[in-house]
């Protein structure tokens, strides 16, 4: 029984970490998305974890996209383009891996023999 409670604690800590981090990020940007993320943060359930993780990664990916478009036009520094694209790739990798992990845990719980 201790192992199951350990696992649950680990996932709730993860969800707190992800929603907390995404929240601080959107607060820093001070965009109109602030109201959206605030409505998400208090829930901290499975869906909100995925949502804020996706939101976080989307902003990183969008940054990479803008910079690479500017790089192709010859307006941006090629090194900064490489840096942004690398960061975006890494963020996407992290999001995909964490999502897979969380979903597999979710599935494990759903398929528990009752």
């Amino acid at each position: 029984m201790t192992t199951i409670s350990n696992a649950i604690n680990a996932y709730s800590a993860l969800s707190r970490a992800i929603t907390g981090e995404a929240d601080s990020l959107t607060k820093e940007s001070k965009g109109d998305s602030g109201a959206l993320s605030q409505s998400v943060a208090p829930g901290k359930d499975f869906a909100s974890v995925l949502q804020s993780a996706a939101k976080d990664s989307v902003s990183t990916l969008r940054n990479a996209e803008t910079l690479s478009a500017a790089g192709i036009a010859g307006k941006a520094d090629i090194r900064e383009v490489v840096q942004a694209v690398t960061n975006a790739e890494l963020t996407l990798q992290t999001v995909v891996n964490v999502r897979d992990k969380v979903i597999s845990a979710y599935n494990d719980i759903i398929h528990l023999p009752v």
């Binding site: 520094d77 090194r79 900064e80 840096q83 690398t86 960061n87 890494l90 990798q93 891996n97 897979d100």
Partner: protein, 136 residues
């Protein structure tokens, strides 16, 4: 920002600074024979790059940036070439204070430094992505 991502950002600033250095070196190399147009004019003067530390308060890191591109005040060289339109009464022409051997060594140094920064990026990216792979 993660520390490893910060080190990538710092290395990128180093690469930028070194590429500006390479640009100045290539200016010097290309203009190694640019004499004056008239006898009282001056030939091309060699340029040197200096670097400085730049504090990025938002991320708490020290980047590098080009401080100044200034002129090398050393004396011009002289060459006997009476047919040149810039030759003085005795037939001597002032030539730029560029030594192509020195420029070659500078270029090598810039290249090595650029490589070192690229290695920092490769290593930190590898460390980060291997850490993420642990989740699989």
């Amino acid at each position: 920002m993660d520390d490893l991502q910060k080190s990538t950002a710092i290395a990128v600033s180093g690469m930028k600074a070194q590429s500006e250095r390479v640009r100045v070196i290539s200016e010097n190399m290309a203009n190694a024979d640019s004499t004056a147009q008239t006898p009282d004019g001056l030939p091309y003067r060699r340029k040197v790059v200096t670097f400085k530390t730049e504090l990025d308060r938002a991320n708490g890191i020290n980047r590098v940036a080009v401080n100044k591109v200034r002129n090398d005040p050393s004396d011009f060289n002289k060459r006997f070439d009476p047919k040149n339109p810039a030759a003085d009464r005795d037939g001597y022409v002032l030539t730029p204070n560029v030594n192509s051997l020195v420029e070659m060594m500078d270029l090598h140094e810039a290249q090595r430094s650029y490589d070192a920064n690229m290695n920092v990026i490769t290593t930190s990216r590898g460390m980060l992505s291997q850490t993420v792979q642990l989740l699989r």
